[in-house]
Symmetry: C2
Subunit: 399 residues, 2 copies
């Protein structure tokens, strides 16, 4: 049979990162291409204890249908925590538990975007979200990034130029893939521009708790007095991504529509996972756990930076990061980036070509993304050494 597909999926491609994972599955290939938390960062023992306790005390509660909005205790505790710790969530806001933060991108886009509406994105930005936006036939418009975050003049130009802009998508902390953190001044600037031009902001903050250097900068949502910011959070990087528990905090009228959409997508999020997150947040020392994570990633990053200095500097440049999981490396103009990434795989080290993160994958790009959280220390150093050897050959070959 010849199958006919919806227009919206005709041009959708599997994520380029996922294609690269196929190479990365070769056990001989060192993968610097993933986005997985470090396995040693999982509170495995605590989660095992909590699960055992739940099955001993309330198995039916963990196994029966639940409500779409999310496990009530988790919603209550998490919203209170976000209000107290991060000033996120006003009286006009509500919280919805989702199946990972990815589902926030999906439900928000589904609720507010018609086909052809424009979504402003940082360029580069997280490919998973870009593909979600594409799946609703939104038109993506990339705004250049600067060292302290999105270009405000670029943003205002786009707001003046583009019609039907629905929202700006931003990852202000340790952005994926660029590693850039938006300054406080720019966060205020972005908020004021959104207010001025009547658009919303989708603030995605998966890595916010993983700051290992510098000072904490408040979320844009923390100064949202007008109800124009939808905040996406997740337990994926701080407890476990396999559990698929994320959350949205945003204005009630929009969350109500997202809840109706979620009913039709998966009814509710896995309830045991929600109960585990709630227990872990409230009965264990959550702040000490987060401090431990920061220490793990601080060490990993220091190791990666040292190896980069030794093997890739000064020809390859990168933006130093203060948190998160990624480093964005830029090759000299004389080296073709896609070729470099392909040859790297043949040398048994895998990175992600930077154009995968552009709103238009065909735009010129000299960067690639390195992940420092997933590989072991040995793999991390060895992988960067392999990249260095390749780099020197390419440079030598040219000389």
């Amino acid at each position: 049979m010849e199958y006919s597909f919806s227009d919206r999926v005709l041009e959708l491609k599997p994520s380029a990162i996922r294609e690269i994972f196929k190479y990365a599955a070769d056990p001989e290939v060192i993968s610097l291409s993933a986005g997985n938390p470090a396995p040693e960062a999982f509170p495995s023992k605590a989660i095992g204890e909590i699960a055992a306790q739940i099955f001993a005390q309330d198995p039916i509660g963990a196994l029966q249908y639940s409500v779409t909005e999310g496990y009530p205790a988790l919603r209550r505790h998490l919203l209170a925590y976000m209000q107290k710790t991060h000033q996120i969530g006003r009286a006009f806001d509500e919280i919805l538990i989702t199946s990972g933060a990815q589902q926030v991108m999906d439900l928000f886009t589904k609720s507010v975007c018609n086909e052809g509406d424009v979504i402003l994105c940082e360029a580069p930005s997280f490919i998973g979200s870009l593909n979600t936006f594409r799946s609703y036939k939104a038109r993506l418009c990339g705004i250049p990034m600067e060292e302290d975050g999105i270009s405000l003049s670029g943003l205002e130009d786009a707001l003046k130029r583009e019609k039907h802009v629905k929202f700006l998508y931003t990852i202000p902390n340790f952005q994926n893939p660029s590693g850039i953190t938006m300054s406080l001044e720019k966060r205020h600037g972005v908020y004021e521009l959104a207010k001025k031009y009547g658009i919303m902001i989708l603030e995605d903050n998966p890595y916010g708790d993983l700051r290992f250097a510098g000072e904490h900068i408040p979320a844009i949502k923390s100064f949202d007095e007008e109800g124009i910011v939808m905040y996406a959070g997740t337990f994926s990087k701080v407890i476990s991504p396999g559990m698929r528990v994320g959350y949205a905090i945003g204005p009630k009228p929009i969350l109500q529509k997202m809840i109706v959409c979620k009913q039709g997508e998966d009814v509710h999020t896995n309830i045991l996972a929600q109960m585990i997150c709630d227990e872990f947040m409230t009965k264990y020392d959550y702040d000490a756990h987060l401090a431990g994570l920061r220490e793990i990633y601080r060490k990993k990053y220091a190791l990666a930076e040292e190896a980069l200095q030794k093997n890739l500097a000064p020809d390859v440049t990168w933006t130093p990061v203060e948190g998160g999981l990624f480093i964005w490396c830029t090759l000299p103009d004389t080296i073709d980036m896609p070729t470099f990434c392909k040859e790297a795989v043949l040398r048994k080290v895998c990175v992600v070509p930077g154009n995968a993160f552009l709103t238009n994958e065909n735009d010129p790009c000299h960067a690639f993304r390195i992940n420092f959280s997933t590989p072991t220390d040995e793999q991390l150093v060895r992988g960067i050494e392999l990249l260095g050897t390749l780099l020197r050959e390419k440079l030598g070959g040219k000389a």
Copy 2:
């Protein structure tokens, strides 16, 4: 701020069933309105054991990111089981693990339907699926039901009349809400009509394993040699709905698109839940477990039937069912159904008004749906007694 929504959500309403749940949350109200499995049907002890074992042996596997297609062992074992036990899955088919069967409806519709495309549905049909179809702005066309399933002449009339029909949505076993089971002849008839008119079939079979009377009838998918049937299965009614593990078995080209859509919706389904389902299917006596479930529901149904006979016959009629969770009761024409359902809630018993399940909720309807799996035996009998008292008052008042 005045929020602007996408056209697709402007007309979406929360499920009427969920609105009724608000009444049902009153502990004094006996709920015959849910669709939850009987709590005693959960293999709670086994699931607790399996979870403990997983956290002892492979905590990282249960907590780390996984692949969108689903946990490989579960996919392999489940597809082999469905092929062997139900002749479901040919060489051209693949399997995708989803976050509940609801996500199959969502991903399939997203992959094949453009706005305005027609989906043929049994009338009445499962409201959750109808709302998913509506969320993609598909046009729903209801086909009348007969005692042995969908009207074939009604189906062919619609296929001749309607343009842009994409697929037929059917629940052949113990349909929700009507309880009707489609005969083998009609299953073949439906398949032949789909072939003749070049449409697909979305076969939703959440209750197939819960047959407590009569002979097993093969799924439509079991005679799909052309690759025109997408089969939706779930562990919700046989292991646990709170885990949210369902699956799609269908032609590879369509599943490939559904996988790309799933990447953008929730990346993958909760991995621990997938591991639990796999262990339970392969290491425990799954067939004995299913036999135990059938015995639970056989008894529950017998109790409900006895109470219906005693309290509501002959004025209220219903179609006897051979499995599943629901009974579809029809009031005499002289009684207004919505009023009856509202008055029933005031008498502390809650049922679902039948029009909630129609493609057009304003169509005339004299039926309501009773669930016999969720209430305790005492609640079930007492709830039906309360309906009987109300019925006699209404009839007496008219005489």
